[in-house]
């Protein structure tokens, strides 16, 4: 394919206008030693037909929920996406525009960003939201970096719960590695699968910068946040929650109601396809008093010279293109199209639809968990309440793999690679996309029938 519209006569006329005769003259000021080695050695271009064939052949080598029964969560969730979502984000007015630096011709994007910020505030119960970050993992790292900007230099200990998503903890540790004054401390989890509140009460003191916990956490457990908030309030540490399954917040008491200072997470479950884990978007909400330390884009309301309401990118003196090395973050995008998908998703489901979908998830997951314990003899690894995923212990997990493959079932995520102490444990996720018949087969296959 070629997307260059130049005909031979176009090229000739344009060169003549410039005062040249050959295209190569456009770059003959580049050192010869570079030019002579620059040829690209790849295959020749393909027709659109062949591109589609090649891509379809690659796609066919992957397992999708159409051919397989998935019980996979762990930060990326398989949910129903209303057709309105793709219809809107496929509109080239949204997908092929740039960051809205010219607000007069970007009100569509800017108003949608403003609506997104409002929806995220409502869902999390927080006061302020930015327009989006890359993903839940980097949003967690950015939350810690923001806490570092807010807290005094005497507070440089970051407490992160071991029940937080292991990949998020890995990204946090990468981001913090080069900030030598900042120390990471891991908080163990207890028998409920929640953050060990006794450990927290003992360890969090006047040196603590922040405490970071999952809500629900990586094990699907709805953490008990009140004692964590108390430990934070008592010691002056900032309280940070991380949500990988924000649909749960349509039903659960939100982080804001528990007194979180910063509430972040991954937004994929709100209308974005799984797409091997990206692109989704990170969401970032906090108390209003921290707004000038916030990373990322922000849309704000204003008026034009005739008093007409309009929206602009605002508080940009926090950002890299103005503040350069003193910016609050280096980020200069906000996964805007994915945040728009979430905005359309939440607007379509609305107040009652979001709650309904969350309830269906709770019902199906609890029904499946009950059956797996009662009929297939699996043991729950934890006792804490859960939303749509849960951990089960199954002695013969490794042995039963071929049975699951034969049934085309992916029963869950083995936890041992991240948690050696959780041998034989499986993180199982059940959403509205898992029909009753699939759950029957899951139970049957576990039972070995």
């Amino acid at each position: 394919m070629r997307y260059t519209p130049h005909t031979a006569s176009d090229k000739e006329q344009m060169l003549r206008t410039i005062g040249l005769s050959r295209i190569e003259q456009l770059f003959d000021h580049i050192p010869q030693s570079l030019r002579e080695r620059a040829a690209i050695s790849l295959a020749s271009g393909l027709t659109e037909v062949k591109v589609k064939k090649r891509m379809a052949a690659l796609a066919a080598k992957n397992a999708t929920p159409e051919g397989w029964s998935f019980f996979l969560g762990g930060g990326i969730y398989h949910h129903a996406i209303p057709s309105t979502v793709d219809a809107v984000i496929s509109r080239s007015e949204f997908s092929t525009s740039y960051t809205p630096y010219q607000p007069e011709v970007s009100q569509g994007t800017l108003q949608a960003m403003y609506e997104f910020q409002t929806l995220m505030c409502q869902l999390t119960g927080m006061e302020v939201s930015n327009a989006g970050l890359y993903d839940g993992a980097s949003a967690t790292a950015e939350a810690i970096l923001m806490a570092r900007r807010i807290q005094s230099e005497s507070r440089r200990r970051v407490f992160v719960s071991r029940s937080l998503h292991p990949q998020y903890r890995a990204v946090v540790s990468t981001y913090l590695r080069n900030l030598e004054d900042t120390e990471l401390v891991e908080i163990p989890f207890d028998r409920n699968g929640g953050t060990d509140a006794e450990f927290l009460a003992r360890e969090v003191d006047e040196k603590a910068m922040c405490v970071v916990v999952g809500y629900p956490n990586f094990f699907g457990v709805i953490e008990e946040l009140a004692p964590i908030q108390e430990a934070c309030a008592r010691s002056g540490a900032l309280f940070v929650t991380v949500t990988t399954e924000p649909l749960s917040l349509a039903l659960l008491k939100p982080p804001g109601a528990w007194g979180a200072d910063i509430a972040v997470g991954e937004g994929q479950s709100l209308g974005v396809p799984m797409s091997l884990g990206g692109p989704g978007f990170g969401f970032f909400t906090c108390r209003k008093k921290f707004v000038r330390s916030l990373p990322g884009r922000l849309a704000g309301e204003t008026v034009d010279h005739e008093g007409r309401r309009g929206f602009v990118l605002t508080l940009s003196t926090r950002e890299q293109h103005i503040r350069r090395e003193k910016a609050t973050s280096n980020i200069c995008t906000s996964q805007t199209l994915c945040a728009l998908a979430a905005t359309v998703f939440m607007a379509t489901l609305g107040k009652s639809g979001m709650r309904r979908l969350a309830e269906v998830n709770v019902c199906r997951a609890h029904d499946a968990q009950g059956r797996l314990v009662k009929d297939a003899g699996l043991a729950p690894a934890f006792t804490g309440p859960f939303f749509n995923e849960f951990v089960l212990r199954s002695k013969g997990l490794a042995r039963s793999q071929s049975r699951f493959a034969a049934e085309k079932i992916i029963p869950g995520i083995p936890l041992a690679p991240w948690y050696p102490e959780l041998q034989d444990c499986l993180l199982v996720c059940v959403t509205e996309m898992n029909e009753g018949e699939e759950i029957e087969r899951l139970v049957r296959t576990f039972s070995g029938d």
């Binding site: 570079l34 379809a56 990326i76 007015e93 092929t96 910020q117 119960g125 309301e301 034009d304 639809g353």
Partner: protein
């Protein structure tokens, strides 16, 4: 049509916010009652009552709202969008079609690797193709955007230097650099040393030598730089940096000028990032998602982020056990959906198509530069690559500034160029037409620019009051920042 509206009249009333319409109880979601519902599965003290203020709309109402909002945007598919350093080229439709194949869009990242072999094959091949195009030895696809690529690249440099002796303290950044360069340096624990470019708009080796010492970890360079000028001393500069044990980082934002013309790998560059949403045509999406792969020379391979994809006996495996790796920079595999689009673009164009793309990008930029140089002052006389930078010096005589010119362009139905960047050029207008625009569009844009230059002379107030035809007039940005209103709130009773 009045003199105020040379284009079509776009001004109309904006739709209300989704929170300001609808009716209690309305929803676009349908799911009948199921058996087994209603039990107390979660303790009630953990539940919320309601989501106050959340929208309550029907499905058509939702669509109409967002469709109307979309009409308020300029976009590549409706307007010429010559934003400098942003490479707003056409985003091919076939890429959108293939990225939506369920075999890509419905993959779960924690599925066993043997069930996502097609995805891993695509990623593996994309790494190899980007390495070939840029002349680097190895590529990671994890970074979610250019800025995260910069951070990743600097972490790789830091890890390598730490292993050699010490991570050092400073990064040299020219004054023409994107703001992300210094911001990423700080985030990686470095101090920034800024150097000025010469009066020819280039970095000079002697200037680098003045500040280059054993405490400098790396020099970050953009090539072509943000003035659209090729840094032709780059090999000499690299030598200066390497001699003192530093590394050279290339900001590959402007790779669209180089394909088949010069490879960064041959320039002495040790690490670079590539913006797939620029050179490789993935949509900008109003501000993401993009992708910022990082390429390195072979001596830096072991420092790349994990997981890495390796080919073993004809199949693809994921490996995390690299002791020297900087670690993980993003969850899962980066912005896979974007990587799929870039892969489709590269195999569509092939070697010859990519080379032609860069050549036509240069042709278009030089053509526009020629057409505008009578009415606008060029920032530098050097030959330009894929973009050119003008100033408002000639228009300032009439009290008309770059911002006014940009706003007036909106009335002519064009998105303005990047303005007031790079910072070293007062009143910069940075124009990058890209290769996918035809000659007629470039002519029309040049006509509009030249017409505005005339207006600036004859009716400066007309230009200063622009825009007239957009959905809103000039917005009060100072007010937005002074009293930030960042979310809708219900009216107080």
């Amino acid at each position: 049509m009045s003199e105020h509206s040379p284009g079509t009249d776009l001004r109309r009333s904006a739709p209300p916010l989704i929170f300001e319409s609808g009716s209690p109880g309305r929803s676009g979601f349908f799911w009948p009652e199921e058996k087994g519902e209603g039990g107390e599965k979660i303790p009630s003290e953990l539940l919320r009552d309601d989501i106050p203020g959340f929208p309550e709309l029907g499905e058509l109402e939702v669509l109409r709202h967002f469709t109307r909002l979309s009409h308020l945007n300029y976009a590549i598919e409706s307007q010429f969008y010559p934003l400098g350093s942003c490479t707003m080229k056409y985003n091919p439709k076939v890429n959108e079609v293939v990225a939506r194949l369920p075999g890509f869009s419905s993959l779960h990242p924690l599925a066993p690797p043997e069930l996502i072999q097609g995805a891993l094959e695509l990623l593996y091949e994309l790494e190899e193709m980007l390495a070939e195009i840029s002349g680097m030895a190895h590529v990671t696809l994890q970074p979610a955007a250019g800025a995260q690529g910069e951070l990743t690249g600097l972490m790789v440099i830091r890890a390598c230097l730490r292993e050699r002796s010490n991570p050092r303290r400073k990064i040299i950044v020219p004054d023409t650099a994107h703001g992300t360069n210094p911001a990423s340096s700080t985030l990686c624990g470095y101090e920034v040393v800024q150097i000025s470019s010469s009066n020819r708009g280039m970095v000079e080796a002697a200037k680098v030598a003045e500040v280059m010492d054993e405490e400098v970890a790396a020099l970050m360079l953009t090539n072509p730089n943000t003035l659209g000028i090729f840094e032709k001393n780059i090999q000499e500069i690299a030598e200066v940096v390497h001699k003192k044990g530093g590394l050279v980082y290339l900001d590959g934002a402007n790779l669209n000028a180089l394909m088949g013309i010069a490879k960064p790998g041959d320039m002495g560059v040790d690490v670079l990032h590539i913006n797939l949403h620029k050179t490789f045509s993935t949509p900008h999406g109003g501000g993401g998602p993009g992708a910022g792969p990082v390429g390195v020379k072979s001596f830096l391979r072991d420092f790349l982020p994990v997981p890495r994809i390796l080919k073993k006996d004809g199949s693809f495996v994921l490996r995390e056990d690299f002791a020297k790796s900087v670690g993980r920079v993003r969850s899962f595999f980066g912005n896979f959906g974007i990587l799929v689009r870039a892969y489709a673009y590269i195999i569509s164009l092939g070697s010859d198509g990519l080379e032609e793309a860069s050549r036509m990008a240069l042709l278009n930029a030089n053509y526009l530069r020629k057409k505008l140089e009578g009415a606008y002052q060029l920032a530098y006389p050097e030959p330009c690559m894929h973009e050119c930078v003008f100033t408002d010096r000639l228009q300032q005589r009439h009290g008309v500034a770059t911002l006014d010119i940009a706003k007036r362009l909106l009335d002519y139905g064009f998105h303005p160029p990047t303005i007031y960047f790079p910072l070293v050029v007062s009143g910069a207008l940075m124009i990058e037409p890209t290769e996918t625009e035809n000659r007629e569009i470039l002519d029309a844009f040049a006509d509009a620019m030249n017409s505005i230059a005339r207006e600036a002379k004859e009716h400066p107030d007309l230009v200063k009051g622009a825009p007239y035809t957009t959905p809103v007039g000039r917005l009060d940005e100072a007010r937005a920042a002074r009293k930030p209103v960042l979310r809708w709130e219900p009216a107080k009773e």
